[in-house]
């Protein structure tokens, strides 16, 4: 079983990397982009076979290590 964790800076937290990408897109002529946020994706390969148990376990991993919940939000997909 695999899990995909997406970690993003929370809304309202300045994302300089996203801003830089946004500026570059503007410079390339891609207008109409209203905002860019950049985060990270972490793929986990799990021995667990029960989706609910896997999601709970990955949630604990996020709270403890994978995300800094002061500044970041996370979402979990069980694949």
């Amino acid at each position: 079983m695999k899990a995909r964790v997406t970690v993003m800076l929370k809304n309202g937290v300045l994302d300089p990397q996203g801003e830089a990408v946004h500026h570059a897109l503007d410079a390339l002529g891609f207008d109409g982009v209203n905002g860019v946020r950049q985060g990270k994706v972490i793929l986990l390969e799990l021995a667990e076979t029960d989706a609910a148990a896997a999601e709970k376990n990955v949630g604990e991993m996020c709270e403890k290590l994978l995300a800094n919940t002061v500044i970041e939000s996370y979402s979990i997909e069980i694949l």
Partner: protein
């Protein structure tokens, strides 16, 4: 007065911190990050700057989960002194000992230069050797030094006099120009600038010496 300095893979300021503490008169013990307990009788712990675990995941996130950090947190919670510099500051926020977090610098650039700081609060073992509002020159060298915390946290830090140092000319976008903060009991100090790199005239500055002398002196009289 006995100081323990934690050694993580990738940290490159552990020996600088050791030299600065020794010059101020402390006995220093280096502690490998895989140790699960601190040597007996330590008065304070230094968490050095550098790039622990290659800054992977987030700066300081992996170091904050290392076995020794549980002991460092226990030491602080029992009233012990802890100084975290640069990556050490990032580690202390990741452990939750200090509030807030360090984001990528607002201009996205790694900054390495000596800059002016204002001493905001002299009522601590670390800053008693300075005068209130004094300007000091400390080096910075960081890519993720943009201090952030929610408005309530910043208001609490300001109200309780827990801002230790402020940037005179904010280089990285930090909220309220914050360069260093204390814990509630002012025994934990986390700061992005490097006092240990301003503790020897041969390195271009001595403004950091007063910090090490003050804290070592405070321990010796305790």
């Amino acid at each position: 007065m006995r100081v323990g300095i934690v050694v993580f893979p990738g940290s490159n300021c552990d020996r600088d911190l050791e030299v600065a503490f020794r010059a101020a008169g402390a006995d220093v013990t280096m502690i490998w990050h895989k140790e699960t307990s601190l040597p007996k009788g330590l008065d304070m712990i230094g968490v050095p700057g550098g790039f622990s675990f290659g800054d992977y995941l987030r700066c300081g996130a992996i170091a904050a989960q290392s076995p020794i950090c549980r002991a460092v947190v226990d030491h602080a919670k029992a009233g012990g002194y802890v100084l975290g510099v640069c990556n050490g500051f990032q580690i202390l926020t990741e452990t939750g000992l200090l509030p807030g977090a360090l984001l990528r610098n607002a201009n996205l650039k790694y900054i390495c230069k000596t800059i002016p700081l204002t001493v905001e609060n002299t009522d601590s073992a670390y800053t008693s050797g300075y005068s209130q509002g004094e300007q000091v020159m400390f080096p910075i060298a960081h890519h993720d030094g943009n201090y952030t915390a929610d408005a309530d946290t910043v208001a609490r830090l300001e109200g309780d006099g827990r801002v230790a140092f402020r940037y005179a000319d904010n280089p990285n976008g930090s909220t309220a120009d914050i360069a260093g903060i204390f814990s509630q009991n002012r025994r934990v100090l986390g700061m992005m600038p490097h006092p240990e790199r301003a503790a020897d005239a041969k390195h271009g500055g001595t403004d950091g010496q007063a910090l090490f002398r003050a804290v070592v002196g405070a321990m010796q009289h305790a």
